[in-house]
């Protein structure tokens, strides 16, 4: 095993699952539950792995915007992201006979609402930098997922 490059650390999570219920993920001192890979049931009681992934993409953007704005001493009161993801072939995930596609993500769209007194082009430029630095956003882009983001800025 190669020695770890201190500039590029590896993150390790432990995920456990019992006979039933969600998986439990342990990361450092944190613990969170993750449900099935995907659910089509509106009342399924756990956030799915796909929802966690989409939430993570959205969190990269909103947390990244907030952090970068703070670093640049720009005013950003609140920011919210609505993230939508679509699979290439959801039936493939279900193992449906005849579903010939892939269950991979086909597209992810993020709609961001920022409350700021800064001019919109300034916030937009911030978002571009956040996207360029966001590991998941860049990974999805490299994987060929159709990624898009729109930004609305209001005081």
């Amino acid at each position: 095993m190669e020695p770890e490059d201190p500039r590029n650390p590896t993150w390790t999570l432990r995920i456990t699952a019992g006979a039933d219920g969600p998986a439990h993920a342990h990361a450092r001192g944190q613990r969170f539950d993750v449900g099935d890979a995907v659910s089509f049931d509106e009342v399924y009681p756990h956030a799915t792995a796909l929802e966690h992934a989409l939430a993570a993409v959205g969190a990269e953007l909103v947390n990244g915007l907030r952090a970068l704005a703070r670093a640049r001493r720009l005013e950003l009161d609140a920011v919210e992201a609505l993230v939508q993801g679509t699979l290439e072939d959801a039936l493939a995930h279900l193992g449906v006979v005849g579903a010939a596609g892939s269950p991979a993500l086909r597209r992810v769209h993020a709609r961001l609402y920022a409350s700021s007194l800064e001019p919109e082009p300034v916030v937009r430029e911030l978002l571009e930098q956040v996207q360029a630095r966001a590991p998941l956003w860049q990974t999805l882009r490299r994987a060929g997922v159709a990624l898009s983001a729109e930004l609305k800025v209001a005081p």
């Binding site: 089509f40 049931d41 959801a90 449906v96 006979v97 005849g98 579903a99």
Partner: protein, 277 residues
């Protein structure tokens, strides 16, 4: 040799929407509690499901009426329909027109255009086309058919074709559209159709819809235990009601095949299976 009740009965179902798997999961759990386990195999279209039945990958198939006829055609008529929903019995398709159109009978549609659903939809295409023929109109000559082939292969399970056909009527592009009676009722009630503007011109004879299909030699003991569990579902039991509402029935009934005559005539006259059929 006594039946091994632990060996699941393999049941096929076609999925037109991933959400359909939820109801099948509930049904599978219900059968489990009845100590009659089933394994549900999902198919993306009825052609593949009938293949699965014919090749005996499946023991029971939840078949559309057209898939039932296909299974019969491909097994020399040896399949049996063992159960169906109460709501699968005595359905009708309505031909809907604008009240202000002046159209009073199907014969008035001569020279006009009729919007139908997907080409393999019994209720939205095959049977209403047969009704036009029975009314003295040749769908190939006397009327123009505008078809809405939404998700072909699902035999009209997806109501998109019927809805698109009606929207076409609503836009004034055709003189009539076809839809299942249940959809007319639902869409009239939920405001999709303004019943003050549209009316039922004519309705087909009654026909039956889906059924659970098995091979003729499906072991009697497995069939008995399957049906025993199925018929144990009771709308009067609050624990079963949600499941039955999702599946759109109030009671499971024995299967019958007398309600497929119109569809049988339709596929024959429209040469649905092709010239070799």
């Amino acid at each position: 040799m006594p039946e091994d009740r632990d060996k699941p009965i393999v049941v096929g179902a076609v999925i037109y929407d991933p959400k359909v798997t939820i109801i099948w999961g509930i049904i599978r759990d219900f059968f489990e509690r009845q100590r009659r386990p089933i394994e549900v195999v999902f198919y993306s279209n009825y052609g593949l499901q009938v293949d699965g039945l014919v090749k005996r990958h499946l023991e029971v198939a939840w078949n559309s009426p057209l898939a039932w006829l296909d299974a019969q055609r491909r097994t020399g008529g040896s399949c049996r329909a063992v159960a169906m929903r109460d709501t699968d019995r005595d359905r009708r398709t309505h031909l809907v027109v604008r009240r202000s159109s002046g159209i009073r009978s199907p014969a008035d549609l001569k020279g006009g255009t009729v919007a139908l659903g997907a080409k393999d939809s019994p209720q939205a295409t095959l049977i209403p086309a047969e009704m036009l023929r029975a009314s003295g109109l040749d769908p190939a000559r006397d009327v123009t058919v505008r078809r809405f082939d939404v998700l072909v292969g699902l035999h009209g399970d997806h109501v998109g074709g019927e809805l698109d056909a009606f929207k076409c009527l609503e836009r004034g592009e055709v003189q009539a559209s076809a839809m299942l009676d249940l959809n007319w009722d639902r869409w009239s009630n939920d405001g999709t159709i303004n019943a003050a503007e549209f009316q039922v011109l004519a309705s087909t004879e009654s026909f039956d819809h889906c059924n659970f299909t098995v091979h003729g030699d499906f072991p009697a003991e497995r069939e008995r235990s399957f049906l025993q569990a199925l018929f144990a579902m009771s709308y009067g039991d609050p624990r079963h009601r949600e499941m039955m509402d999702m599946e759109g029935l109030k009671a499971w009934m024995p299967g019958r095949t007398t309600g497929y005559a119109w569809l049988s005539r339709a596929v024959e006259s429209q040469r649905f299976w092709g010239p070799q059929a």
